[in-house]
Symmetry: C2
Subunit: 365 residues, 2 copies
């Protein structure tokens, strides 16, 4: 999933992006403080919208209603992709965002969401909360008058829907694939022609043969869009985002002037939402994948030469971005060190045991 795809989900859900910038609401009378939160994802996505909605409810509960944050679907206050701009400018106090949306503003924002080939979601949390990641990301966002707080994770997504089977890297050449952001940049270097297309437009474009492939989210969300009806091959994994963390962006001045008790309520509710959103996807994706396969979807994994070239290209791009962008470089140094240490440690116990167990269970069936 990328910038374009997420914008289009919204349109796909029938929510027009009005472009209107809302006037700030800073009411704080007897009824308490009220904030509005501009969502980047539509109500239809009960996982990512639902977990943020529950977070807002929790903030109200924790403050006995003295601090209420209301979540507004994309287009109600601002269009989905203008959430950061609106928060930065203070026309809304906070927003639900996916930082990779703002890759074009500053590529270093992707550290707040997830990079190609890891960190994975658990490692992302460890880096953010205990490895210095959150401090670095907050330093970056402060330049844009925003204060980021993690509020969820999509987990590793799918690699997308393909009309034809991809048997080797050569089969990607000239392929018109709906994919954007960093993933699109990598794919472009691998011969793909990346297409910007609304989520709601994917179905028709694929049916008409305007595009050959499209990445969206994962089984649970993709099934809703019916993409299995227009493309038989469903590829894994979505290597362009090893973790896809979702973020609450708060206007920096609004955050700094927020009473400590309300800051606490926001932060602790955000932590709960961070865990909850991933749990929702983990619990829902298996059944959706089974359902898709039962309907005829053919599950495939990207061929080895595609994976190897993507890995090499992604790492080259990381180096190029570091050379060009001081913000990227500073965070990349911390991130890469943490990734390499985690990689070594995971293979000792956690990942080693997963590997053993998954294979042992497979042998039994």
């Amino acid at each position: 999933m990328n910038t374009s795809s997420r914008r289009k989900i919204i349109q796909g859900a029938g929510l027009a992006a009005t472009g209107a910038i809302a006037a700030p609401v800073l009411a704080q009378d007897q009824s308490g403080l009220r904030w509005r939160m501009a969502a980047s994802f539509p109500r239809a996505l009960e996982t990512c919208y639902g977990s943020t909605s529950d977070m807002c409810k929790r903030i109200g509960e924790l403050t006995d209603g003295r601090f209420r944050v209301t979540l507004h679907a994309p287009g109600e206050l601002v269009p989905a992709l203008e959430v950061m701009k609106a928060v930065s400018g203070g026309s809304v106090e906070c927003g639900q965002a996916f930082s990779s949306f703002y890759f074009g503003v500053n590529p270093a924002f992707i550290f707040d969401a997830g990079l190609a080939f890891g960190l994975n979601p658990r490692q992302q949390n460890a880096w953010m909360y205990q490895g210095g990641g959150l401090e670095l990301v907050r330093e970056l966002y402060a330049k844009y008058d925003c204060y980021p707080i993690p509020i969820g994770n999509f987990g590793v997504q799918m690699g997308g829907w393909f009309r034809r089977e991809i048997k080797s890297l050569a089969d990607l050449k000239g392929l018109r694939m709906r994919i954007g952001g960093f993933g699109g940049m990598v794919m472009s270097r691998m011969g793909v022609s990346p297409q910007q297309l609304a989520g709601g437009e994917i179905y028709a474009a694929m049916e008409k043969g305007v595009i050959d492939a499209a990445e969206f989210v994962g089984p649970f969300d993709d099934e809703k869009l019916g993409l299995n009806k227009v493309a038989p091959f469903y590829y894994a994994p979505g290597w362009w985002e090893g973790s896809a963390q979702m973020t609450a962006l708060v206007n920096l001045k609004s955050w700094q002037s927020l009473p400590k008790a309300f800051q606490n309520a926001f932060e602790v509710s955000a932590a709960e939402a961070n865990m909850s959103m991933l749990c929702r996807y983990d619990a829902k994706n298996p059944a959706a994948m089974r359902s898709l396969i039962a309907k005829g979807t053919q599950l495939r994994w990207f061929p080895r030469d595609v994976m190897d070239t993507a890995f090499k290209t992604a790492n080259e791009l990381f180096d190029e971005l570091s050379d060009k962008n001081e913000d990227f470089k500073k965070i990349y140094v911390s991130w890469r060190k943490f990734r390499d240490e985690q990689t070594a440690w995971y293979q000792v116990a956690d990942h080693y045991l997963d590997n053993y167990t998954f294979n042992a269970l497979k042998r039994r069936t």
Copy 2:
């Protein structure tokens, strides 16, 4: 880590188990409600004790000090292994517990902590919060007048310290190993002679040759105990606990009479602690492992025939426990279904990408 090991960490930390049962404190005057929480782990463990301590602090912050929970080290109110008994009886309002401690009371309690060969920590969360696990575990604990809330996870631990190399299953025969609980039961069927021994006693017992092996926790905690000085071989993984979830046990009546606002503050702080504890271990273990290896520790993995026999034996034991115990059976049915679905899905995207990335990074170094 198991019942015995955890009891002994406490003694190892120089905290005498007094055996005294504290009188209940149910103060609720102008200064608000005060609860005491009896810890199962000593202050010395900044990860698991530290995350629970921060959780208590958070509860106080969220309620403007109207609801304060104070954490007491093992022995201050009740001995570590009597936490559940004290909570159940109401002599303390709540406790920090590891449910596998109570395997002897009811083997079904291990579903609240973790079972051999998975679920892994992320899957455990998905099952607990979104897969019906928490409801089942609460139904079980209600029979003991307790209300459980997840508050942390140790991640996959190490398989322990061995004085001699284990080259095959045969090398386990007659081995005197400090290990208890479910892991001890499996090991016993594999020829090991499980030993109950204090954490603080491991060092001396190993040095004198009274035991041949000992499992404790993981690199960060084990290094503090200095076990690397008395045993050269450090084995992975601790397959007897694919997830090691920590739990707050609350007296059921105390929970039910707790104002909703305080329940909310407790639950949301617990969720934050659940994530935070695992982040702490993830962030700290890699450096500790490097440090141990630099000091001469020889890292090993259990041989294939040990893993295969352990997997087979563990699953046989699950079946036997299901046959004997209705509580175990009821939860096992849900747990096993969830595990099998997660196993299939993880291999599509998340685990597949981890596998690829970890191997690709290894090839680069």
